[in-house]
Symmetry: D2
Subunit: 366 residues, 4 copies
Amino acid sequence: MSGSIYGNLFRISTWGESHGKGIGVVVDGCPAGLFLTEESIQPYLDRRKPGETKYSTPRKESDTVEILSGTFEGRTTGTPISMIVYNKTQRSRDYSEIASYYRPGHADYTFDQKYGFRDYRGGGRSSGRETIARVAGGAIASLILKTIGIEVNAYTKSIGPITIDYGKCSKENVLKSPLYMPDLDASLQAEDFLTNTMQNKDSAGGVVECIVSGMPAGIGETVFEKLDANLAKGVMSIGAVKGVEIGSGFQAATMTGSQNNDNFFIADSQVHKQTNHAGGILGGLSDGSEIILRAAFKPTPSINKTQQTFNTMGENIDINVKGRHDPIIVPRAVVVVESMVAMTLLDMLFSNMCTRMDKFTAFYHQ
Amino acid sequence: MSGSIYGNLFRISTWGESHGKGIGVVVDGCPAGLFLTEESIQPYLDRRKPGETKYSTPRKESDTVEILSGTFEGRTTGTPISMIVYNKTQRSRDYSEIASYYRPGHADYTFDQKYGFRDYRGGGRSSGRETIARVAGGAIASLILKTIGIEVNAYTKSIGPITIDYGKCSKENVLKSPLYMPDLDASLQAEDFLTNTMQNKDSAGGVVECIVSGMPAGIGETVFEKLDANLAKGVMSIGAVKGVEIGSGFQAATMTGSQNNDNFFIADSQVHKQTNHAGGILGGLSDGSEIILRAAFKPTPSINKTQQTFNTMGENIDINVKGRHDPIIVPRAVVVVESMVAMTLLDMLFSNMCTRMDKFTAFYHQ
Amino acid sequence: MSGSIYGNLFRISTWGESHGKGIGVVVDGCPAGLFLTEESIQPYLDRRKPGETKYSTPRKESDTVEILSGTFEGRTTGTPISMIVYNKTQRSRDYSEIASYYRPGHADYTFDQKYGFRDYRGGGRSSGRETIARVAGGAIASLILKTIGIEVNAYTKSIGPITIDYGKCSKENVLKSPLYMPDLDASLQAEDFLTNTMQNKDSAGGVVECIVSGMPAGIGETVFEKLDANLAKGVMSIGAVKGVEIGSGFQAATMTGSQNNDNFFIADSQVHKQTNHAGGILGGLSDGSEIILRAAFKPTPSINKTQQTFNTMGENIDINVKGRHDPIIVPRAVVVVESMVAMTLLDMLFSNMCTRMDKFTAFYHQ
Amino acid sequence: MSGSIYGNLFRISTWGESHGKGIGVVVDGCPAGLFLTEESIQPYLDRRKPGETKYSTPRKESDTVEILSGTFEGRTTGTPISMIVYNKTQRSRDYSEIASYYRPGHADYTFDQKYGFRDYRGGGRSSGRETIARVAGGAIASLILKTIGIEVNAYTKSIGPITIDYGKCSKENVLKSPLYMPDLDASLQAEDFLTNTMQNKDSAGGVVECIVSGMPAGIGETVFEKLDANLAKGVMSIGAVKGVEIGSGFQAATMTGSQNNDNFFIADSQVHKQTNHAGGILGGLSDGSEIILRAAFKPTPSINKTQQTFNTMGENIDINVKGRHDPIIVPRAVVVVESMVAMTLLDMLFSNMCTRMDKFTAFYHQ
């Protein structure tokens, strides 16, 4: 079945493998009239580009995006926007060995079980390189959200055991930290931790936190198309994500109602909440306060330590995976989380437009 | 937008409010030839029925299901199965007061923001009663899964601060515990905790864990329609769920690759894993081991304690919500989690049927 | 697969068999704030009700609709509207014979091939009674369209060889004619033709024409979700429809470009066309002029004449189908065509709301 | 809204404008294991390539397809197949004049009404060049269908007033005729007719007929996802199509039941029909006989005759459209019709795989 299409009204269709010709995305459902060039999108891709720090794979890729359709004289036309990023430095020979066995923690075995065989070069379609397409699509969604004052900002909340201290955080720090952590002390500690982890030929995981500001209230659809349900799907679909939570999340399970409920109050003719345990979503609809979401990333499964597995001959073997790997993917995943959140929010802002008779008749001027 | 339809190939369309005529579901996409009567479905509904223990709302409802279409001579015909559960004891007058203000932790404010007004009687469509429809649909999915040896079993993992001890757990215990906990010691402690919580006019949350056995490998679709992504959406769409995790979940973020990777091995010509941190899903596809999923439920927002909020006149007020409420919804939600998991799995088992040329040509006998 | 759900943003999910408990529909995606009661919907159903004239089946059904959910104090709430029409006079014994053979022109054989068996009572799900659900859903769509000045009007254009003369037509005539023909002379001739056909124990077909006025320009989505493409699907999905055309339709194939092109002109600051061969749709988008659509209905396959077929034993046999049949379904299908058109238009009016940046930002007030 | 995605399980996402960088398609949902190279697809594209005869636009394009993803070692992997055809000879200056006015019969006016402005170069997204993407996707669908013995064959049935004589037709003739007519006498007459039409600076339309052989019975989904409903949508979505009919189509409306019903009989243990007025579809499901579909194409709207219209200043003007146009698009559209039919059939063959319990349990080996 088709699994590479995301969204309903704002929809992306993605394609490409780690060691194929490139990675691409078709954005279908972008409204007409958005100012858009490659320069608007490239900064988003640069944030997930490999080889920027010593904590990411040494594979060098410029990841330069090219727009192939859907714009005219610098503006979107309302028709599909096709974008492509060519793979430049695929080195398939590194991966020939992988063809014969199943790496623990990877999709090698499950792909073979599903499809009968697989493109084993760098993980093929299951490679993290597919997230280029998510980021290119997410960039467009983010640009549209900005026009109505919605900002989506994610950062690294924790790496292994190192967690940020909210008291030391600032937005500016995020871009100063090579790990996209808003607390620079935690960032330095995490660097130490990662250096140590790499020396042990091991890898690390972490948590990305995403904050959305400026979201109007009432966005999302009741029952199954809840805003949080769709956010959970979008974020859980990112490779390596093993958990998603909103607001107080798993901690809510240990709280009492009187602790967890956010009391409302009116001040300056505006609705406020005393707390935001709900993470900005009540009954599946945005409540006008900040949306808070966290995603747990497992450690990169590619490690240079010896591991046990079996091969295509059905023999139990010891392996030592070579290749160019990220010791941690969390920092590069920050913009991927933002992208999935932005596209999901936009889709639900669109669907919300046809939920009230008064707004429908006003739209069609009667 | 349409938000009350779930699934792609196995699809349910649900309707109904807490204090309307009833709750219903249309199951579209059930294969022909399944033996099905009301008696097959009722046991699932009985597990979420209110009023069974002192830890659930005293509202008495038999929640008896009636099949209106889609079966003939005891078997499904392949056409839509419409099911209805009538509301018997709706007492709308209890709720007239609610019309004038917005309860903290509820969807009152967000519904008003979205739709301009709301059916305030018992929360209307945002009431937990809508899960009757999920359970009726999930019962059919579960029955279909059983025909190929797949079992979906959920239970209460924790209530407030009380968590089960896996060493003391058994499947049989689940039905013995009024809280659906597989560890009866923990269950007793949780009962004490809840009694105390109720005396404080407060409410509690908890975690539901769901285990799927018998799942073949390779189920799920790559990139966006990953099995875990769809499970996350399905489960997060249940009211009060604030977090979802698979396998080691949020803990994976603190582990190293060598700790978290599950080594494969072959024994007795079968593929096994030494551990199951992945929770049965690799690269978004089932890996043949047990699927492990957890959902965090927030405490019931309806409490009898005084809370601050504002009313429809825009005044800040203190409220004390009356009505018949559950001090905890977790035990009744166990079967709801199972239902969402079962429907999601079945949908992806269906979509997997058309992903290989060899199986396609075999199906059509050429 | 799910086949009983129609639409994307305005969505109906239908269920029910000819001889089951009833026929129903869940409307999901109706905006909040529409004034709606059973009285608003019943007139639409009355137009397709059987037994009103001697040209329809003598089966007597009041086809009274009951709303089960989705309204509060006389207005829609934005949540699913479930409606039911109970079957009152199903006489299953009439059909027991049908179980053993396959009626020509019916879905008996194809249902058995697909599902392995079938609910043979009155055609089960393939009965024309399923159109009750379409009409109930279409009624709501029509009521919404009216609020912005869009009217959907269908009528019988031809029955067998008898076609209306546009020179003699009026809107008022449609309701005066028992056959819903706007030309009363043609209507009388068609009545004679039908009387004759019935005496021959035969049946007749015809063409329904549908005119939509008040449609704004630019509605529809380019390439695959064209307005005409969706109208074609919606109308062709009505049982017995074998052809659909827009504007000059099949005749356009014999015209030259200079004959078929509709020249534009401006008069009174309004855009007009000198002709309307396009039937109101250019490039898949509405052009602001009347939408003109025609649907060809085959003659009712149930006839009392002897026919050849085979039975479930694999024997060639002669049959004579008994039961209560319509000698023609065209007049009762008029409102069914309107319903499919109305729901399709509304769905595309909804999707059009998110296709321009300027309107998006205006909607969200920035 | 997203309008450039077609299909549910076998899905294409298309992009590109007449005078942009190229035209492309992403095929999502192609099963793994199909042998596929550019050489398998190119012959389909060659059949719609411009400039092959004097009856098509003189614009020269090789329309060479390149596969960018989704195959490995000559076989599809089950992941998205991205294909691109670069535009080589776009001459945008030809079209600068068009920017200022609205061509009759074109989408200029409706695009401006919908999107606020348009890419006017060669019609932009509304150009017939978008059908390249349909044909590339359709080629893959056709190749898959062939593996189970299903052949989709279309041809020109009529051009203007010239219609084929079935007595003179053969499959071989289709490729001999520059107009893809299976009757070579009619083809010669049509050539004369077109020469005359071109001398008059006019254009012509025609009818494409499509025959599907080898289709198993029972394919399609009841009620809204009928096989004929989906075929109608797919074919009506082709630009310039104004009507679609199945089997006896519009003629059925003038027949009686006894004339139109196809009697069944068994011979050599096979089910046959004495006639095929149904065009291979009963109750929306294939009946095992040939599927017969016809599409009416309007004459090319671009003509060199003087026409009336208005310009962007709101003035009524006379225009004379220049540029490289097809005097008829029907012959080049033959393979486009085949493509839409093939993709639609495949999608419904896929969805049919999960409609019976016995086949479901057999697939999953229990």
